[in-house]
Symmetry: C2
Subunit: 322 residues, 2 copies
DNA sequence: TGTGAATAGATAAGCACTTATATAAGTTTT
DNA sequence: AAAACTTATATAAGTGCTTATCTATTCACA
């Protein structure tokens, strides 16, 4: 037996994978009905359950409740009437409507099936929660995410974003850009914390406090928005550098420019043959921490002990690895 | 717009739900290809990706790699040859085999598509991880659970089990059953911990230590295996009772008799108008804790403070609610 | 060395839906 | 009140697979 190529494709083959498992489950459901000698087709199940619950629905209503097309329901209805499980009556107010109801036989069959349905549900819960999983919840959440923005929309957005990222220019520090360093960082520091005196000094005199001490500063320039992000490497001696004062202007949020800049700075740091690249931040900055984690930083207690005391507001220390 | 009846059916309609979302994703994939003007059908995707990765495969190999039927691959192959994307050559060693390879055009098309594939993968990862979800992982785990034991097998097992549960008899304490109390509990206590002196006294003289102090003991009798489980309620005064000495013999493990007994004891405790029903256990007893959680017990620090010191081995305290 | 069993692939038919379209019945607009 | 639109359902045809079955080839072994 060959192994499963869909594993190699991972998330890219998500659709195929879902299709495969749903077909397996359908076949399995057919086996369940056959095993318990119930003379019904799995495809009828949702309609029978719906009729059991709502007593009377029209074809269009049923198709909306079940998320299937109207012709599908039209066909099921025909089949179930042929089996004698469903009665159809013409709508009193609107003679186009066909009102579906379980027949006496249908009610009896559903009653017979209910214990099996309950057992199947238990089995399904079992299946969903085995191995500490919560598949059903994950599926619901996934459906909501898909509803919110589907794969095409996300793909288009991602491509547009990476086209834009290619146009972003990285600029090294120069005195005529110094004011941007202050504007960019003052903005987010004020939003998250309080702009303290040390902050002000560093932001107002970056050459003195950072560059002249062997540190680095870079800016990210958006083709239309101009300079929108900054990031610094602080020289802490012994080849150790602290990544700090990384900020993106409000007007450029959501464009993932921070990530582009961070990756650039990491690449530069590697090129500089940095011994240890670390950063200090606060647990409040969830989004930033997530970004750091995503890009190779890991939480590190030794860094916390060595450098954590330098700033009041820091309670998270991370080190870049690999 | 009506709401979604599949939500009401919850896990029972898992198959239908999976089918629906997989169809949506397939349609969405078709839109992606159309949007980027790629003249390929979504159903071909996995085969093209396979040929890109493995260079050369036969039809049967491809069907195994992709988890589709051989005729499906036979059909795709025909279509892709007609499109000029795939070349077929007859196997040298086995003339029945058709070796599939990407044609020059096929390679070019795949190369054009790759950036889109990458973007789609990013989008899919996004979709899977949005809202703190991990849908892909959950799906893989679910597939494994399904592989291990499918819905039919689980349903059958569950039904057999609940039929057996109906035949289980609950017996109150009587002196002629006292020896079972010791046998059952000594077995599991020895396995998990060390049988201490206090344990021995209580187990050997349950009437003296439990019944005469206003406590209760019940046994579960299996129709074939005999008395296989026991559980006690210890009267701690002020209407507070401790659920303790709950055990199931090795030979009856896996039949969920423990759960049946636990539910019975909870029902009895409620009937006795117990003020507070609690229990003490050890974090080692994962399965038991899971069972307690499933049946209405919650972790409770106050109980730990009030009663936790009584036993050496207890570091988990739980209280029954609702 | 043949002979039956297994395997690779093709073909046909079926299934559970879908989309597209037709028909008939209601509703709204003029 | 007629015309134009909308809605409920039915029907036809298509789709992406499946299972069943057939042919051609290879293998296993007596």
């Amino acid at each position: 037996m060959h192994n499963d190529f869909l594993n190699e494709l991972a998330e890219l083959a998500l659709g195929s994978r879902l299709k495969r498992i749903s077909e397996k489950m359908l076949a399995n459901a057919a086996d369940v009905y056959q095993n318990f000698n119930m003379n019904i087709q799995p495809k009828w199940f949702t309609l029978l359950a719906l009729l059991d619950s709502k007593k009377q629905v029209t074809i269009v209503e049923a198709s909306q409740f079940l998320g299937l097309s109207q012709p599908a329901l039209s066909q099921f209805c025909k089949q179930l009437v042929a089996e004698g499980l469903v009665n159809v009556s013409i709508g009193r107010e609107d003679s186009r409507q066909r009102k579906l109801q379980l027949s006496a036989l249908g009610k009896q069959r559903v009653a017979e099936m209910k214990p099996i349905w309950r057992a199947v549900e238990k089995a399904a819960v079992d299946l969903c929660t085995e191995a500490n999983n919560d598949f059903y919840r994950a599926l619901i959440t996934f459906e909501k995410s898909f509803e919110k923005q589907n794969l095409l929309a996300r793909t288009t957005q991602y491509l547009a974003q990476s086209a834009m990222h290619n146009e972003i220019e990285m600029l090294p520090f120069s005195d005529d850009l110094a004011s941007h360093f202050e504007t960019i960082n003052a903005q987010w520091i004020k939003q998250m914390f309080v702009l303290e005196d040390i902050d002000k000094q560093v932001l107002q005199q970056p050459r003195k406090h950072i560059i002249d001490k062997g540190g680095k500063i870079w800016f990210a320039k958006h083709p239309k928005l101009g300079i929108v992000a900054a990031c610094a490497l602080l020289n802490k001696g012994d080849g150790n550098f602290e990544l700090t004062k990384m900020g993106v202007l409000d007007k450029a949020r959501g464009l993932k420019i921070g990530e582009v800049l961070l990756r650039f700075v990491i690449k530069e740091a590697i090129a500089l043959n940095v011994n240890c690249l670390f950063l200090l931040t606060n647990a409040k900055c969830e989004a930033a921490i997530h970004l750091y984690e995503k890009n190779g930083f890991v939480h590190d207690k030794l860094i916390m002990q060595a450098y954590g005391q330098s700033y009041e507001r820091c309670n998270v220390a991370m080190r870049f690895v690999v």
